[in-house]
Symmetry: C2
Subunit: 235 residues, 2 copies
């Protein structure tokens, strides 16, 4: 699947569409790096890297504002139709999800500022494992967007089930730890919120995969089930 | 502030804008009722009302799909500019927030399906109190949208601070309960997730207030601080 950018009468319009798409991919790359750094900070309990991640969230927010303005300007000036309009609308939704992923990353990275006993450090191992899966999901959905590949988007869509399972398992375990060592509850709660944030990032990646499918296939699949989405992609 | 609907050359375009706006307000009314019912179900531990709320979330989702299609159609067919375009874009963002509020309500209402000891029922009292505040916030932001009133939108924006404070206070108390009675942790965790969901609904209402201000004032205030927003409204 390729965007028929060369079909546009106006070369300037092409340029604008290409530019806004490349800005989204830049924003996605930044968010991806933020998640990578957040996981590293958590692993190394590196509070200075954690601070950097939190400070960088401003850049993510700026991207959202700028790209949203670009989308509005394109709609107002170019009056796009059909697939061009779908691209602009899918981008407007994608950047909202990326911005929220940025917020969740800031919540996760706070765990890196805590102190943990050697036993408690064990709590972070599963979280890191889950985080690596979510990072792959985020990478893949950005690839799907860059290549306009609905099959890869669908793979991402399906990955969310694994993330949800990992989340449930970690949650159950954290609850057991809390019952065994009530004094550690505040610290375990922090890990629990971080786990929840990771689960939410998985949801957001799934949302983005739905926007990619909408753009390519022209069907809003947000409230479809798995089989309906599969069918949409096969068409 | 009034929409200058009568300035449009096409009477049909007027009708379409009025219709999409009235659909959003219907959707908002539905979500408002859902939150009301969820709080009642929680108070009365009425699991059958809880089931109804969860079943009704489908209707919320349908509204999102339908209104989103209406917005896309208006953009493609009518090529709106200036304030008309801002209205359509603000609506597209608002329905996404309303749909998420619907999801959070389904999480909250699950507490109504649990069994609680008399002592544990106390946990739900503060949650209900916070829920009532959030309900007022939701009501007010829908009023602000219906009346296109940026001052009321700003009031909603500011209410979120109270919600966040209530959330922190309840959280601290729930953590204390957990430490005192570790066997009750799984149940207290359910109440904690519900509290978190309420806090998120507050955030979503704040988002909607930002969309209303964007529509009226033409400035994207999403990453502004309180004073910057105040200034924008005064202009």
């Amino acid at each position: 699947m390729e965007l028929n950018l060369d079909k546009h009468i106006s070369g300037q319009f092409n340029k604008e569409l290409e530019q806004v798409l490349s800005h989204v991919l830049e924003m996605g790359g930044l968010v991806e790096n933020q998640l990578k750094d957040a996981l590293t900070a958590m692993n190394d309990l590196d509070s200075s890297l954690a601070d950097t991640v939190i400070a960088n969230d401003n850049k993510v927010n700026s991207y959202e504002t700028i790209i949203d303005e670009e989308c509005t300007r394109i709609i107002a000036k170019r009056q796009p139709a059909a697939i061009d309009l779908r691209l602009v609308l899918a981008i407007a939704k994608t950047i909202a999800d990326l911005e929220r992923i940025g917020d969740e990353i800031c919540r996760i990275v706070k765990t890196a500022r805590d102190k943990y006993s050697n036993e408690q450090k064990q709590l972070l191992v599963d979280l890191d494992h889950m985080g690596r899966k979510v990072l792959i999901m985020l990478s893949k959905v950005l690839n799907a967007l860059a290549r306009m590949d609905s099959n890869e988007a669908f793979e991402v869509y399906q990955m969310d089930t694994q993330i949800d399972k990992a989340y449930e398992a970690i949650n159950r375990q954290l609850m057991t730890y809390m019952m065994e060592d009530p004094r550690a509850i505040p610290k375990i709660m922090d890990v629990m919120w971080a786990t929840r944030s990771l689960e939410r990032i998985g949801d957001r990646c799934q949302n983005i995969s739905e926007h990619v499918i909408y753009f390519i296939k022209g069907t809003d699949v947000r409230h479809f089930n798995r089989d309906q989405i599969k069918q949409t992609i096969a068409q």
